[in-house]
């Protein structure tokens, strides 16, 4: 939790100095980046495998998405079950360019041997046949109109999730849909999007998704071990900048309004703040962050398909934030990193089986059950999540909330005597 000094002296120290948690976080992140670089294969001594560096890079992207989720849920009280959809859209946006450009290289190469130099139409037809052969089409659908241009697709990473969030949020907030209703509505939106992407005629290769995204066009000569480090740096940079930006947003009066909306949105309205505008801003802003995180994640994953956009992914995002501790930025990062790495470890078959004599627990099968149950346990017994542990070591202690809700439906720290 960022600490706001209350004496009110308007002397302005640098932002990072005022909020030690931000400085500590950035220091740890830089240290971690340096360590990984030194240990990695690309530029270092090669102790850590390339695939593990990719996993770490992906984890950083997930942390960035979790930051966004914390902003929208932990600080503003909107339990969005749709932010992984924005993450996926970012991935699709960059994936389209990667796939187009990479296929273009291949097609140009194969056509260069022909007797006549190829026309633009022939090249485009060749690319389309390569990409859409799996869904039985050979023409570019309209959504691919900008796929040839990296800057335009980069713009799409920001614009498409932002615009979708803006339209959806405007519709939902305008009609005062709040609390669980909003959660269900966002879940429905995610479901609709993933069902749409599952169709072959969505123009995004149906359930095949986009693949081969780890191959960067123009960088064929650079080995994957180095590319993975480059992406790791980019992810770390994005996370660092994202953290700084989010910390700046929540630290000032804006953060104060956000938390006020979370705790009692109608009171905020009577203070003259347009709650809908604030929610819309936070919802769209975080959607953009998720889009960027997704655009960094999928080139490291190599493949994106509609299952990645399914509602379950967004719920997992909420799970990470809850386990890490919502309402504090580092909590979201810790939760996402901890749970997703643990999950990789368990589902990757690296965890040793537990023999109970009559029955052997194989973690590949039982990890999800453990996760589900531990999630129930965290909700019930440790509403502050892992972040709550950190409170024990710092002097700063937020008031004991006795597990009271952080949502808008029942104000925080409800006054017991007033309810009598």
């Amino acid at each position: 939790m960022v600490d706001i000094t209350s004496a009110g002296a308007p002397t302005r120290k640098p932002f990072v100095m005022r909020y030690p948690s931000v400085a500590i976080f950035l220091a740890i992140l830089s240290l971690f980046t340096i360590c990984v670089t030194v240990l990695g294969e690309g530029f270092g001594i090669g102790v850590v495998s390339t695939s593990f560096i990719k996993t770490l890079g992906k984890t950083l992207c997930l942390c960035l998405a979790a930051l966004a989720m914390d902003l929208v849920w932990g600080y503003t009280g909107i339990l969005s079950l749709g932010h992984m959809a924005f993450f996926g859209i970012g991935g699709y946006a960059i994936g389209m360019w990667l796939m187009y450009a990479r296929t273009e290289v291949i097609v140009r190469e194969s056509l260069s041997a022909a007797a006549l130099p190829p026309t633009p139409q022939e090249i485009s037809d060749g690319i389309a046949t390569q990409i859409f052969g799996v869904v039985g089409a050979s023409e570019f659908p309209p959504v691919w109109a900008l796929a040839h241009s990296l800057p335009l697709q980069m713009a799409a990473i920001v614009i498409v999730p932002g615009l979708l969030a803006l339209v959806f949020g405007w519709l939902a907030f305008r009609s005062r849909v709040t609390g669980v209703y909003l959660s269900i509505l966002t879940q429905a939106m995610t479901l609709a999007l993933s069902l749409y992407l599952f169709q072959n005629d969505s123009g995004l290769r149906g359930n095949n998704g986009l693949s081969g995204l780890q191959n960067l066009p123009g960088l064929e000569a650079v080995p994957q071990s180095q590319i993975s480090i480059l992406f790791f740096w980019a992810s770390a940079l994005a996370l660092g900048l994202g953290y700084l930006l989010c910390a700046w947003v929540v630290s000032g009066k804006f953060g104060s309004v956000m938390r006020a909306i979370r705790d009692d949105e109608s009171r905020v309205r009577f203070l003259g703040y347009s709650v809908e505008a604030y929610k819309l801003f936070v919802f769209s802003f975080t959607a953009v962050i998720c889009g960027i995180a997704g655009a960094l994640y999928y080139p490291q994953a190599g493949i994106i398909n509609p299952a990645e956009v399914a509602p379950i992914a967004s719920i997992y995002l909420a799970v990470w934030v809850a386990i890490g501790g919502r309402g504090r930025l580092y909590g979201a990062v810790i939760g996402a990193a901890f749970v997703s790495l643990l999950s990789t470890w368990f589902t990757g078959g690296q965890a040793p089986d537990v023999s109970l004599g009559f029955f052997t627990i194989q973690w590949v099968d039982w990890w999800t059950i453990l996760l589900g149950l531990s999630f129930v346990a965290v909700t019930l017994f440790a509403p502050k999540g892992i972040g709550g542990l950190i409170d024990r070591f710092t002097e700063h202690r937020s008031p004991e909330r006795h597990g009271a809700d952080l949502g808008p439906d029942a104000g925080a720290l409800r006054e017991k005597e007033a309810l009598e």
Binding site: G252, S256, F270, S398, G411, L413, E415
Partner: protein, 246 residues
């Protein structure tokens, strides 16, 4: 004296029950008014209509020097237009410090982008400090509002209301749960406020109303039963019947 607020012929019903029935009400720009009435007279619904929480089925609510209708405005627009409301139960942001609560209420640009770039000026800090002093919370500025006593929360809410600098103050039972000394202080603040703005106080406590020494409107079954000085309305037979005849 020109009227700041004009309510005419307003009715609202919930599932057939008429909570407000053809209500007409005016208040000047610097006037104190007490609204009294038995339970269920429609006092809270009346305030809900003024603040935009409830939309009436019929009638008009005009506001300001160049009258505009409040009915087409949202809650936040009405609040920005200068209507401040204090709730019966203190509703302050308990997870935030007294300082933050006051800063949140302080009259400033409410737009998201302006708030994002907002940095409190020296004047803002002074104003907050002055308000905190007035409501007796200067020593607990950095404490979370949730840690305050019930009475302190009442004060904080009054402070937030004043920080908004509204042209019309709607105050719902401000003295509930206060010590006599605090009531005295509350009265002073309200009377002081009424010199520069309109104040509507909803109150059960006749003693408190008497101390406010202002015009009184009696509500009953959603419409105005009587209006005038306290002595005038307490002599009114219908009022006596409503209050005692039950």
């Amino acid at each position: 004296m020109s009227n700041l607020l004009e309510v005419s012929g307003v009715s609202v019903s919930f599932d057939g029950f008429k909570a407000i029935n053809n209500l007409t009400f005016q208040i000047g720009s610097t006037e104190m008014r007490a609204v009294i009435g038995p339970n269920g007279a429609g006092k809270t619904t009346f305030m809900d209509i003024l603040t935009g929480k409830t939309k009436p089925d019929e009638g008009h609510v005009y506001w300001g020097d160049k009258p505009v209708s409040l009915l087409s405005m949202s809650e936040s627009q009405i609040a920005r237009a200068g209507v401040g409301r204090k709730f019966q139960r203190p509703t302050v942001f308990e997870d935030q410090s007294v300082q933050e609560n006051l800063m949140l209420a302080l009259k400033n640009n409410r737009g998201p982008l302006a708030v994002l770039r907002f940095h409190p000026s020296r004047r803002d800090h002074e104003q907050v400090a002055k308000l905190a002093d007035e409501i007796g919370l200067a020593k607990v500025m950095s404490r979370k509002a949730g840690e305050l006593s019930h009475g302190q929360k009442q004060w904080l809410e009054i402070g937030m209301l004043l920080a908004q600098d509204p042209r019309l103050l709607l105050v719902d039972e401000p003295a509930a749960g206060m010590t006599p000394a605090e009531r005295e202080h509350t009265t002073e603040i309200l009377v002081e406020a009424a010199k520069t703005r309109a104040v509507v106080v909803v109150e059960h406590d006749m003693e408190f109303v008497r101390r406010l020494n202002c015009k009184v409107t009696v509500l009953h079954e959603g419409s105005v039963l009587a209006e005038g000085s306290l002595d005038h309305v307490t002599r009114n037979e219908k009022v006596i019947e409503v209050y005692l005849g039950r």
